[in-house]
C-alpha cells in the first residue's frame, strides 16, 4: 500500500524493519487482500448517489 511506503519511520528503526522483512511482507499481502475484499463490499453498500447524499447532509450545530 502506497501509504505504508510513504510513512515516515525514525531512522533508528530501519534495521529492525529490514530484519523482519519476510514476515511483514507476507502480512502486508494478507492485509492488502483483506482491504480488497473490504473495498468490494463497500462498493456494494455506498450510497448510490453519493453527491446528493453529501449535499443533503446538513446538521444544526449542537452542544
Amino acid at each position: 500500500m502506497a501509504e505504508r511506503e510513504q510513512r515516515r519511520r525514525s531512522t533508528s528503526r530501519t534495521d529492525d524493519a529490514e530484519i523482519e522483512e519476510t514476515p511483514s511482507a507476507q502480512a502486508g499481502e494478507e492485509l492488502k487482500a483483506e482491504l480488497d475484499d473490504l473495498l468490494d463490499e463497500i462498493d456494494g453498500v455506498l450510497e448510490t448517489n453519493a453527491e446528493e447524499f453529501v449535499k443533503n447532509y446538513v446538521q444544526k450545530g449542537g452542544e
Binding site: M1, E3, R9, L35, L46, N56, K60, G61, G62
Partner: protein, 497 residues
C-alpha cells in the same frame, strides 16, 4: 488522595430525515426518542430541571458576556431504566450514559447507547410513510461547518484549584487526539481546502477557538469551565470535557475515558507533569490534527520542541509513578488500571513505529487505510464527494449501511453485557438507585435528574430524594431495600424521607 473518577459520556447524534421535503431536525429527533419511549418503556418519566445551572463558571463567576448553554425544558426528555438520560438537545437526539465507576463499564454503556439509537431508528421508521427514512450517525460534524459534541464527564476533587487543573490537563487534551481521534476528510476551518488538509485526525479540532471558557456552541474552548457538579458542590467538581470525538471504535472510547481518568486522578494528587504546556494550545490542537504522518514537532512554553507522542509519553511516565504510589483503586481497580496502562503504552509505541497496525482499533487510522485504498482503486481526489460520503457512512448506525461495523474493529464489550446495559443501571453508582426506582415504581416517579428524584405517592407534597453522593445508592447499599419494598411509599418510609 484523588476522589474516585466517576465518569460518563454524552453523545449528540447526527440525524437525517430522508425524502421529506421540509425536514425539521428537532421534530425528527423527537420522533426518534418518542419511538423508543413509547415502543420499549412502560411509562415515560421526565427530566427534572430544578438543579440545572449550566451558566455557572468554574473560575468562580457567572460570565454574562458569554452565551450560557440554554436549557430547553420544552423538548422531549426521558430517563431510562439503565439510569441514562435520553433527550432532544438543540436539533439532535442525545444520550447521556449513567454514571459509571470505570472506563470499561462506561464503554459498555456507550455501546448500549448505540443500540438504543438503532432500536429507536427502526421503531421510528416503522411509523413513517413509505420512502421516508430517519438515519442516525454517530459523528460530530456535517462537513459543512456545523459541529455537535461528544462530551465526557469526570468527578474531580473540589479542593484542587481549578487553575491548576486547566494548566495540567491542557497539554494532555491537545495531544491525546493521536489515539482518540475519529478522523475526517477535509477541513471545516475557514480558508482551508482539501489541498491544505485532505484528511485529518479529528472531527472536532477545526471548531476550537479558545483555551478556556464556558461556551460549548461557539468559540469552543479546549477546557470547558461549566461548573455544574450534579453532586455535593462542596466536595466535588464535574469536569465537563468537550474536546473529544464520538468514536466508533470501542477500544478508543475505552482508552479515551480510562487514560483521561488516570490523568485527572494524577492531577488530584498533584503528580501530573508541569512542564508540557504548549506555547499555543489552540493552534497546536489543529496542527496535530492535520499532521497525519505524526511527524511534526510543536513548541512548548519552555522553548523545547516536542511531538504529540512525546507529550503523551511524559504523561505516561508520570502515570507510572502515580500508580506505583497510589494504585488504581480510584479508576476502577488494579486489573483495569494495568490493562489501560499497557494499552496506552502499546498504542503510543505503535503510533511511533507502525501506525497502520492500529487500523483495527483506532478510527482515524482505520479510515485512512480504507479511504486511501478506495482512492487508489477509483482514482479519486480527496475532494471527491464519494470520499465525503464514505466519511459519513463510516458513522452510519444502520447495520446494513454503516462502514465502521464492517471493517473488523476490535471489540472489548460483550453482546450480552451490552444487552443488560440497555435496560439495567450500573450497580456501582447512584444510577443504580435511579434506574431501579424507575423500573420498580414508574407510576410514583414524577421526575428524575442526576442528583435527585421526585416521587408522588399520592399524598401531598411531592417528595424529593437527594442523591448528592455519586457513589451512594449502589446495589450494595440499596439493592436489598429495593427488592424488599413493593411500593414507593414503603421505600420512602424506610429511607426516612
Amino acid at each position: 488522595m484523588a476522589v474516585h473518577k466517576v465518569l460518563g459520556i454524552e453523545t449528540e447524534f447526527g440525524i437525517l430525515h430522508r425524502n421529506e421535503g421540509d425536514s425539521n431536525p428537532v421534530a425528527a429527533s423527537s420522533m426518534i426518542i418518542n419511538a423508543y419511549v413509547n415502543g420499549f418503556l412502560e411509562r415515560r418519566v421526565g427530566w427534572d430541571f430544578e438543579d440545572e445551572h449550566p451558566g455557572l463558571d468554574a473560575r468562580g463567576f457567572n460570565e454574562f458576556d458569554a452565551l450560557a448553554p440554554e436549557i430547553e425544558t420544552h423538548l422531549v426528555n426521558a430517563v431510562l431504566t439503565n439510569g441514562a438520560r435520553y433527550y432532544v438537545d438543540h436539533a439532535h437526539p442525545e444520550l447521556a450514559t449513567p454514571e459509571c465507576t470505570d472506563a470499561l463499564q462506561c464503554t459498555t454503556y456507550d455501546r448500549a447507547a448505540e443500540e438504543i439509537l438503532i432500536r429507536s431508528m427502526d421503531k421510528a421508521n416503522e411509523l413513517l410513510p413509505d420512502g421516508e427514512e430517519l438515519v442516525i450517525h454517530k459523528n460530530n460534524s456535517d462537513g459543512k461547518g456545523n459541529s455537535y459534541g461528544c462530551h465526557e464527564n469526570y468527578l474531580v476533587d473540589r479542593s484542587v484549584p481549578f487553575g491548576r487543573i486547566v494548566q495540567e490537563i491542557m497539554p494532555f487534551f491537545v495531544s491525546r487526539q493521536i489515539f482518540c481521534g475519529a478522523g475526517k476528510v477535509g477541513s471545516e476551518a475557514p480558508g482551508l481546502t482539501h489541498s491544505d488538509v485532505p484528511f485529518q485526525i479529528t472531527q472536532r479540532a477545526d471548531f476550537f477557538e479558545e483555551e478556556v471558557g464556558l461556551e460549548t456552541t461557539l468559540k469552543r474552548p479546549i477546557v470547558n469551565t461549566r461548573d455544574e457538579p450534579h453532586a455535593d458542590s462542596k466536595k466535588y467538581r464535574r469536569l465537563h470535557v468537550i474536546v473529544g470525538d464520538a468514536n466508533m471504535s470501542e477500544v478508543q472510547t475505552y482508552l479515551k475515558l480510562g487514560v483521561t481518568a488516570i490523568v485527572l486522578a494524577m492531577i488530584d494528587d498533584n503528580m501530573a507533569p508541569k512542564d508540557c504546556a504548549f506555547e499555543a494550545s489552540v493552534q497546536t490542537l489543529r496542527k496535530i490534527s492535520y499532521d497525519i504522518d505524526l511527524s511534526m514537532v510543536h513548541r512548548l512554553a519552555t522553548g523545547e520542541s516536542v511531538s504529540a507522542i512525546d507529550v503523551q509519553w511524559a504523561y505516561y511516565a508520570a502515570a507510572e509513578k502515580w500508580a506505583d504510589r497510589n494504585g488504581f483503586e480510584v479508576i476502577g481497580g488494579q486489573d483495569i488500571g494495568l490493562d489501560l496502562m499497557k494499552r496506552w503504552h502499546d498504542v503510543l509505541e505503535a503510533l511511533e513505529n507502525d501506525p497502520d497496525s492500529l487500523a483495527d482499533s483506532i478510527d482515524w487510522i482505520a479510515k485512512r487505510r480504507l479511504y486511501e485504498g478506495y482512492r487508489e482503486r477509483h482514482n479519486l481526489k480527496w475532494s471527491d464527494p464519494k470520499l465525503a460520503a464514505l466519511d459519513l457512512q463510516y458513522h452510519d448506525l444502520r447495520p446494513d449501511k454503516g462502514l465502521a461495523r464492517r471493517i473488523g474493529l476490535k471489540r472489548i464489550t460483550d453482546d450480552s453485557e451490552v444487552e443488560t446495559a440497555i435496560g439495567n443501571p450500573p450497580p456501582s453508582t447512584r444510577a443504580y438507585f435511579r434506574g431501579r426506582c424507575l423500573e420498580r415504581y414508574p407510576d410514583a416517579i414524577v421526575a428524575a435528574n442526576w442528583d435527585s428524584m421526585v416521587f408522588d405517592i399520592g399524598t401531598d407534597p411531592l417528595r424529593r430524594v437527594p442523591m448528592l453522593e455519586p457513589l451512594r445508592g449502589t446495589a450494595a447499599h440499596v439493592g436489598n431495600l429495593l427488592d424488599e419494598c413493593t411500593t414507593a411509599a414503603e421505600l420512602l418510609r424506610r429511607l426516612g424521607t
